[in-house]
């Protein structure tokens, strides 16, 4: 067990997979120089410009070319730089990559991974801060992953590259520098399996990506006052680990979903609705969701902070849920 940053874990995942399989390659803007965040550092030196492929600023063609390259048997890893820029390639991802296997009756597979960095980061404003995981979860054919820790970035990116489905792998920009323990050797986190990162009997808190860490801070805070929160890091948004979430809520009777994405029509709505459908009679309090307000992310710090979900708000919601149950 060593220690790596979230960013170093991603480099290791891609390097190991490229060493293991000569048909794995990466394609995107500026990745030969290491990528905009350094998440490809050192890879072109090892694998050359034919496998760490720098491209023009042509997101549609980056994604579309990856679809074609996947159809002839290679396994491309696509870099979109910021998830916001993937919107320039949405036809290629949604109409082409996601539907190819289905609409051609299973003749082909599109084993590509799209890396889409998400989240609030250094006053990046409206077009460099979004978390749009719910959009992709809505699209049949796609897998969506959103790791919160270095170990999970290593394990989920590895799983994504080995998977024959197109995977949208959403790394959080604010976590690149986060350090954590990472297993030695081959480390694969199975797709669709959540992680209970803190057990608790009173409230089930489901979250993913950067808000996992804010939720843990909140859980420690409320624990000091006697409320025990079970924090579940979903890790894979689609397919989401319905079983693990339902098992937990069946025990606690209370659900809080926390995500950085806009709350309205966010993926938390799907989780809350499923829990309400499946466990209505066993709920001891109405389900709760915390997410961003339905506004674009602003630049100026006081305005950006309006969008941010602080641990104090999460703690408050946990208290309210616990109190509602006691009433």
């Amino acid at each position: 067990m060593g220690e790596l940053s979230y960013l170093e874990a991603a480099i290791r995942a891609l390097r190991d997979e490229m060493r293991r399989d000569p048909l794995v390659w990466a394609v995107g803007e500026d990745i030969g120089r290491g990528g905009v965040f350094g998440q490809y550092r050192g890879l072109q030196e090892e694998f050359g410009p034919e496998r760490i492929v720098d491209t023009p600023i042509s997101e549609a063609c980056i994604m579309g070319a990856a679809v074609g390259a996947a159809l002839v048997g290679t396994r491309p890893v696509v870099e979109m730089r910021f998830s916001d820029f993937a919107l320039c390639a949405i036809d290629e991802l949604v109409n082409q990559a996601a539907k190819n296997r289905y609409m051609f009756g299973g003749q082909g597979r599109v084993p590509l991974v799209v890396r889409e960095p998400i989240g609030l980061w250094r006053s990046s404003a409206a077009q460099h801060s979004q978390s749009l995981e719910a959009w992709y979860a809505h699209i049949p054919g796609l897998v969506v992953t959103a790791p919160a820790t270095p170990a999970d970035n290593l394990g989920l990116l590895t799983a994504a590259i080995r998977c024959d489905d197109p995977v949208v792998h959403m790394e959080n920009k604010n976590l690149w520098g986060l350090r954590g323990a990472v297993p030695d050797g081959d480390h694969v986190v199975p797709l669709g399996v959540a992680s209970v990162i803190r057990p608790g009997r009173d409230v089930t808190l489901v979250t993913w990506s950067a808000t996992v860490h804010d939720s843990l801070v909140a859980a420690e805070e409320v624990a000091r006052q006697g409320v025990e929160v079970e924090v579940i890091d979903l890790r894979t948004i689609w397919p989401w680990d319905r079983g693990r979430v339902l098992d937990s809520v069946a025990r606690t009777g209370r659900l809080l979903v926390v995500h950085e994405a806009v709350k309205a029509a966010g993926f938390g709505g799907e989780i809350a609705a499923t829990v309400a459908e499946e466990l209505h009679g066993r709920l001891r309090a109405p389900v709760r969701r915390l997410g961003g307000p339905r506004i674009p992310v602003a630049y100026s710090k006081p305005l950006e902070d309006v969008y941010r979900i602080e641990p104090a708000r999460i703690a408050q919601a946990c208290f309210e849920l616990a109190r509602a149950a006691a009433a």
Partner: protein, 333 residues
């Protein structure tokens, strides 16, 4: 850009082969049109009647392991690449035995076994895909090439620019084939296009361009042979602009009232099948031989239609197959 000069060295046997493919495509399209009128084929169906020469002339120069991407008007490309009319027709009839199991229909016809990587419901979307296929083939060390078919309408979309630029920047083994049929859906393309035209656009993106009479199958065949040799030889991408005409409406539902009937009538005199047939007669091929060939192809398509009509429908449960490995069928609700 160069205008293709044909030296007319094609022998009658070669032209007979090309003519056979064109007759097959025409018969398929007519059968499809009739079946649609009877409600046996449904959905959006885009016929390639009048445009048979381009897919025929290009694909007759391809190997089985070369790959192509097609458009919403893709029956001709699929047949010309060697797909079986029987499984294609079954697909249009929505049957389980269709080449896509009934999931695709006309707009998503495909036969990966012959290197036909799919028609596409989105104009121009095949261009980045075929460019990437070429990149993937090169990464795998293959000398197969990739051919992207698209229409004049696609040249006003972003993926056209991104894809041509990309192929030129990476020197990829791609042949771009633009069938300029004059119409972008129901709008005359020139009325919506700036600049000096499609060939100039392709040249400006660094892709050497050849313009050919797209209704002269021998001219297409000859130009394609030479361009494909250049592409396969590592010369980088090439662009073949085939000037043709869409003799029918945009879809089978479209009677094309926005066109002057005299324009269409005049274009029928340049029908690529009629021209090839006249040329075969001029080359001394007997009318009886030509008629026999035509009867054979029409019988083949009639048999494909009969077989499609008798084929089983897909089971509803198949709707959940081939969504995805992770989180697919288990989420049937």
């Amino acid at each position: 850009m160069v205008a293709s000069q044909t030296n007319r060295e094609n022998s009658a046997p070669r032209l007979l082969d090309l003519y056979r493919t064109m007759v097959r495509i025409r018969a398929f399209e007519l059968a499809c049109e009739a079946a649609h009128k009877e409600g046996k084929v449904t959905g959006a169906v885009h016929l390639s009647i009048g445009q048979e020469a381009a897919p025929t002339g290009v694909c007759s120069n391809l190997r089985r392991d070369d790959v192509i991407a097609s458009t919403h008007r893709g029956h001709g490309h699929t047949l010309a690449k060697g797909a079986a009319a029987e499984t294609m027709m079954a697909e249009l009839y929505g049957r389980a035995t269709g080449c896509c199991g009934g999931k695709g229909g006309s707009m998503h016809i495909a036969d990966f076994s012959v290197g036909m990587l799919g028609a596409n419901g989105v104009v121009g979307a095949g261009i980045p895909i075929i460019v990437g296929a070429a990149q993937g083939l090169r990464l795998r060390g293959s000398d197969a090439i990739a051919v992207g078919f698209f229409g004049d309408g696609a040249t006003n979309r972003g993926p056209f620019y991104e894809g041509l630029n990309w192929a030129a920047a990476f020197g990829l083994p791609v042949l771009f084939v633009c069938e300029d049929n004059g119409w972008a859906a129901t709008t005359r393309t020139t009325s919506m296009s700036g600049g000096p035209g499609i060939a100039a656009r392709a040249e400006a993106l660094g892709v050497p361009t050849t313009v050919v009479d797209g209704n002269d199958v021998e001219a297409v065949d000859e130009a394609a042979a030479s361009l494909i040799a250049e592409v396969r030889g590592g010369g980088g991408p090439r662009f073949l602009l085939c000037e043709t005409y869409r003799l029918k409406g945009h879809t089978v539902h479209d009677a094309a009232p926005y066109r002057d009937p005299r324009e269409v009538e005049e274009r029928w005199t340049r029908d690529p099948l009629r021209r090839a047939r006249d040329r075969l007669l001029a080359l001394g091929v007997g009318a009886a031989e030509i008629e026999r060939l035509e009867a054979e192809e029409e019988a083949l398509i009639a048999a494909a239609s009969a077989s499609a009509e008798a084929a089983p429908w897909p089971l509803p449960a198949a709707a959940f197959d081939d969504v995805q490995d992770n989180g697919g069928a288990a989420w049937a609700n």
